[in-house]
Symmetry: C2
Subunit: 351 residues, 2 copies
C-alpha cells in the first residue's frame, strides 16, 4: 500500500461511475502516493476499469457494495435500509482505517446521517458541519464558509462550535494564524439579526478561542473581509445555491450578448480566448469538494452533478485533509476549548 | 397638478441629493404626467435645483424637512427622535395623500419602521414585506422575491401572507394569471427544511388562494421555475446580498482576465463592445427599487449606494405601482383571503 488511501463512492451522484472512475484514474496518474478503493457494483466497476487495473496494480482496487442510496432518499431510510450501499461501505472503510478518507457525490442528507452514525462526532462537537473553501477577490486567499446545509436549526452554541472548527481549518489548511471569523447577518449593526445570531454574537465575542470579527453581510462573502464565515445550514445552503443561480444567469447573459448581432459575433471571435479564460475562472467545478467537519474521519461531499474535473477536485480536497490530518487537529484543539466547565452548554448531547 | 405625484427622500442613501436630484430631473423629463416633491433641506435643495425649478413649474416642488435619518441609526431611535426627517416627511406626504408614493434610499430598518407606524398595514397583513422583481433566464419573465429583509423571525402564517401579497403583485404587475409560488428551501423533498418552512408548506398546500408550486432551491432563484419566491427576511436578505457578492467577484475576474497578458489586451480591444453590453446586463442598478408591500400606501426602497440610473429605476417602480394601484388591489384580495374565520392565526396582531 502506498501512503494515502481514499475510498470513493463510485455509484453516488447524478452520473455515478461514469464520472467517478475517470476522476479516479486522473487522480492516480497525478498523485503517485495515492491508492484508491472504488466502492460499488463489482461487476460493473470491473468492466469499466478493466484496462486500468493492470496499470495501477494494488493502487486501484474494487470493493463490492450491492446497494445504492438514491439521490432523493430520506436520510433515515438510507441509514436503516441501505447497510450495503456504496456510500455506507465507503464510510465503513474510513471507520476500519482501510482508507484515510472517503469521497461521495451522493445525497447530502444521507451522507451526513450515515457518516455521523458510523464515525461519530469528535469530543466537544454536537453536530458536524459542511464546510467549503471559496475563492475571493484576493487571489491568494480563500474564505471557509460553514455550515452549508448539515443543520437547519442551529443554536448559538452550535454556531460557536462551527466557528471553532472553521478557525482550526483555516489556520491549518490555509496557514492563516489567528483567522478572522465573521458571523453572517443581515446588517453590520449590533441591533440587527434574528435571536439565534444575536445570541451567537455574544458567545463569539466572549471567547478567546476565536478571533471574532463581527457581523458580515452576504455581499462580503467573497471579498475576503474575513477568513471564516459562520451561519446556520439553512441560510448557508440557500446563500451558496443563490450564488450558483446567479452565476448560471450570468453565463446565460454572456451567451446572449455574444449572439446579439453580427458585430457582436465578429467581436466574439476575437474575444473567445478571454471568454474561455473567464468561463474557466467561474466554473464551479474548480471549487468542488466540501468537508463534513467534526467527525472522527475525513468525509468529502462532491456536488451531485459535478464533472470529472469537479470530482478530481473533491479527491484532492480529501488529499489535503489527509496531509493536514484535520480530524486530529480539531480533536486536539477543540478538546481544550469546548470541553471545559466554562462552556457547559457546548457539551449537551445535540440532536 | 399632473396625475401622479411622488415624494422623494432627497437626503437618504449614501449620496443623498447628489443622486436623488439628477434622477428626479431625468424622471420628470421622461414622464410628462409625473410631479415630484423633493423632501429635505430646503436651502440646499433650492440651490441644487435652481435652474430646473422654472423649467418644470409646479411639477417640481421642494418640501422642507430639517432632519436626516443616519444610515446606521437604529429604527426605534429614528422613529422616536426624527419626526422631521426627510424620510418621515416623505412618508407623511403619502399618508396625507399629497403624494401617491414615496421613494427613499435611506436606512431600510428605519424606513420600514416609520412607514409601518405612519401608514399602518393593510387589513389581514401583520407584517409588511420587502419585495423586488428580478430578471430570469427567460428574458420576458421576472421573479418576485420576498421577504428581502423586513422580518427576521417570520412564522409560517407570515410567510403565507407574503405568498398571498406576492401572488397579487405578480398577477397585477407582471400580468401573470395564477402565478406559481415557490417556498425557498434547502431541498425539494418534503422532508427537508427547518420547522418554519415545513409548517409554511402545509399552510401553502392547503390554500386555494395561491397556486403553490412546492419547494424551490437557491439555484433556481433566477431560472423562472416560479413567478413568486417566498422566504423569511433573514434568509432572503442574505441570499440577495450573496448574489450581489458573487456578481462583484465575477466583474473582478472579468477585469483580471482582460489584463492578463498582451494577447488578452489585444482581444479585449475588439471585445469591448461585448463586455460593455454584458456589464450593462449585470448592472444591479437596472433592478433597483424594492417595494414595502402590505402597507396603506406605496413606499419604495432604493439601494443606499445606487447611481442616478438606479434611483431613476426606483422612481419608475413607484410609477408602476401607482398605475396598478397595488395597495388597493392587495386590500381587495387579501381581505377575502386572510380575514376569514378559517384562518384565524393570520389575524393575530403580529409583532
Amino acid at each position: 500500500l502506498s501512503s494515502k488511501t481514499i475510498a470513493l463512492d463510485a455509484m453516488g451522484g447524478d452520473k455515478g461511475a461514469r464520472i467517478v472512475v475517470p476522476a479516479a484514474i486522473k487522480a492516480l496518474k497525478k498523485h503517485p502516493d495515492l491508492s484508491i478503493i472504488l466502492v460499488g457494483d463489482e461487476r460493473r466497476l470491473k468492466a469499466i476499469t478493466k484496462k486500468h487495473l493492470g496499470r495501477f496494480g494494488a493502487r486501484l482496487r474494487i470493493h463490492h457494495a450491492a446497494e445504492v442510496v438514491g439521490m432523493d432518499e430520506p436520510p433515515s431510510q438510507a441509514l436503516r435500509n441501505k447497510k450495503d450501499s456504496s456510500m455506507r461501505v465507503s464510510i465503513n472503510l474510513v471507520k476500519s482505517e482501510e482508507a484515510q478518507a472517503c469521497v461521495s457525490a451522493g445525497n447530502t442528507g444521507a451522507l451526513m446521517a450515515t457518516a455521523r452514525f458510523v464515525l461519530k462526532t469528535l469530543p466537544g462537537i454536537n453536530r458536524p458541519a459542511i464546510v467549503s473553501a471559496f475563492p475571493t477577490s484576493d487571489k491568494t486567499k480563500v474564505v471557509h464558509f460553514l455550515d452549508l446545509g448539515a443543520n437547519v436549526d442551529s443554536s448559538a452554541e452550535h454556531l460557536f462550535q462551527f466557528a471553532v472548527m472553521g478557525s482550526i481549518l483555516a489556520s491549518v489548511v490555509s496557514n492563516v494564524s489567528s483567522p478572522k471569523v465573521g458571523l453572517l447577518n443581515v446588517g453590520q449593526e449590533e441591533i440587527k439579526g434574528n435571536e439565534q445570531v444575536r445570541k451567537a454574537a455574544e458567545l463569539f465575542s466572549s471567547s478567546d478561542s476565536i478571533n471574532y470579527y463581527g457581523f458580515v453581510e452576504g455581499n462580503h462573502l467573497f471579498d475576503h473581509t474575513v477568513d471564516v464565515i459562520v451561519c446556520d445550514g439553512f441560510v448557508g445552503n440557500i446563500a451558496l445555491k443563490a450564488t450558483e443561480g446567479v452565476a448560471k444567469l450570468i453565463r446565460h447573459y454572456m451567451k446572449e450578448v455574444l449572439k446579439h448581432n453580427w458585430f457582436a459575433r465578429i467581436c466574439a471571435v476575437f474575444a473567445m480566448p478571454i471568454f474561455m479564460a473567464f468561463r474557466k475562472r467561474i466554473n464551479p467545478d474548480r471549487y468542488n469538494g466540501a468537508s463534513l467537519l467534526g467527525l472522527n474521519g475525513i468525509v468529502i461531499k462532491s456536488h451531485g452533478g459535478t464533472s470529472v474535473l469537479g470530482f478530481l477536485n473533491a479527491i484532492e480536497t480529501a488529499l489535503l485533509e489527509i496531509d493536514d490530518n484535520i480530524p486530529q487537529k480539531i480533536r486536539e484543539k477543540v478538546g481544550s476549548i469546548l470541553v471545559t466547565p466554562q462552556n457547559p452548554k457546548a457539551m449537551d448531547s445535540g440532536i
